[in-house]
Symmetry: D3
Subunit: 162 residues, 6 copies
């Protein structure tokens, strides 16, 4: 009998974009379970708290049992091992992404040789969507409909106006 | 009768380099008018004020009617629309530039589908010239003649010595 | 009074794709006239003759006066000069494209300093569409609807079956 | 109960390298079965026949039930569907690889939206190993031990000497 | 009689990695002397002081006369000239490195045309090793053995725990 | 006493460009001797014979004793060893160059670990000059003055007219 295949999709998700959601959907059809790991990064000043970000993800995947949101700190590979995940999923949108991703994946392989990293592509309509750019556009009053989930859109406008 | 074709060339121009001037000259021969849009970026600590940067550009293009310098804040595409510009001009020097430029251009197209971005190349002698690098060299006492306009050169040395 | 601004959009167009059409439409809104220059490349074995390719382009832009299709041989900059074009338009889809395009543009600038090259982006949905790939898919019996104009689609299937 | 997850790893494998073997091993731990699809490319002049290449792969994975070698022609996504594979595995070694891979993956997604492409990295020691380069080195009498499986090494030297 | 060939290998070395050591060894076989120039960068907050970093390098190259560690501030090319060095050595690991390196090398050539920059590759096993990433892994409690020299390893763990 | 440092600068040089000459000059100031290795490539159809190419190089470096032109076949590292060269010099103009160069350099290092590859940059004015492009421009009647040495220019025009 096949063992359950669990993958981690790590990130900041500050906020969740439709590019992230697209990778989560694609990943959830490849693995038995995908755990979205929200990094508790103490250094940066996030727009949304970790709890708010977890709620956004859980909200979006309500009723879809094999996508789970969780927070983690420390080394990604330690977290993956603690969750019995054997795969790390990363979305790659562009060349510059890929360089950095490659470096991280090789380091993670050294730290934990049995955990594999796989790269997946979002739909091309999300090829230019990043959390950073979406926040910037929202702050300047631009329209972000179609770039983030509907509820995230509303919360993001509220937050940047505060 | 042809409508007047107006283009925006946006940037920080802190300070103006000869690479920028080169793109402005090239752009001014392609369009009826080119508006150099100096971004009022509240987050960063610039070396020169927006007014100083506008003066540098106006000084350089004195007598050349179809190059205009102006300051803007907010979304670039909103500013472009308010100035009846239909094109955004961006200089591309290298691959790493291009990645970022591509992402911004696709986002701007989503925000304003009728405003087109075109990319132009500076002369190859300016392929390594950036405002950041010019400032760094000036601070360390290096020779920046031939990288910035003559008057900018003088002002830049004065400023970094303050 | 403004001089008429004429641009050349050169290529093989064997066959015309919707990515090409997208660049032609965008270019035609930036310039008074865009001349699609079909290269008579004696070295390669094209799938369609130059006349067939010209017909495909003319067919697609029937009724749109400022897009003209023409064939040329020899140096692109000589052809541009003979047509009083001051700009070369190139579509850029990806990094690898851009490298080659940059090299050609710098060479063309050396050969004819007054002719400027501008780069434009197709819609992201065409970011992976090339004549070569479309031909390959058609040969293998794949569906190319939405990648080439309707009439090109029909002719391409006929041709690869011959 | 989980459905069996089958992936296709397509390529020419002319000849099989240890970089390929590395990806096959990694892939075989991610999926229930990995089918190595040897492309019958009628256009090129291969060094080894399709049957010889299939034998090399089978030889290397003897006793490892979830790696299967098979030949295919036509569209990769059609072959994948016929084998009930839901994933295409591709190894990525470098930027230039990735550009091409991205283009192919987006085209394959358009042709068959339910088949997903995932990218995996070989060990960094194989980052410069390609079939083409290995053949070139062997032809010039260089040492290819450690770049291809032992038996492939012997057969490759014999073949290039013929 | 040949003049002594002296090269500078500049960097922050905060901390020294085995990737740096690899380039130093390779450089020391190409030149009569290699001076490792530790940049006194006043802007950043380093983990180790300049003196600590110099000690790490000297410790590693004890008994190897043609590798010397020294600190410098100001323009690299001025420092190189003061040390009668005619070459700058830079390690290149990846594309993104190379872009930045190219820009710096062209600027340095402009500032001092007689000083040449040469690029060398570390062993592929160090292709993903950077000071920044090593510090991050150490901070999160990961294993950095084999990425930095033995003594650096011990000191790095001590420092990040402070 | 320091051993003589000999470097190989390999290539096809069909024909020699001023970009090549620039790298040769730069290399000749870094090493005691630079051997320009003209590859006898039996597969391709060159424009100039190996002897003609050797003559072009010798002609250009007449009187400069430490630049020598020689032809070779077989593995580059074997040729380097036979000439007691410890370094391979390669010019890098752009990203796409660099990818391929990196792969070759890693393979050469595996084949001969004691022979080091160093990368050097030509002057930025030659950043777009390649033998292939120069030939293409000459064939189409374009002006190649300033891209190749004077005598190569004359011979190239004669050859493409034959």
């Amino acid at each position: 009998m096949a063992t359950e295949r669990v993958a981690i999709y790590p990130g900041s998700f500050d906020p969740l974009t439709l590019g992230h959601v697209d990778i989560m959907q694609r990943g959830s059809s490849l693995f038995d379970k995908i755990i979205v790991g929200v990094l508790k990064n103490v250094d940066k000043e996030p727009l949304f708290t970790v709890d708010e970000r977890l709620a956004m993800i859980r909200d979006t995947f309500r009723g879809q049992d094999n996508v789970e949101a969780d927070a983690f700190s420390g080394l990604l590979v330690d977290y993956a091992a603690s969750r019995k995940a054997t795969t790390i999923v990363r979305g790659v949108r562009a060349i510059s992404d890929f360089e950095y991703e490659f470096q991280m994946a090789l380091m993670n392989r050294r730290l934990a040789p049995t955990i594999e990293t796989v790269f997946m592509m979002p739909a091309e309509e999300y090829s230019y969507v990043s959390s950073r750019l979406v926040k910037e556009v929202a702050r300047l009053g631009g329209n972000i409909a179609g770039l983030v989930p509907k509820r995230v859109e509303k919360r993001l406008y509220e937050r940047v106006r505060e």
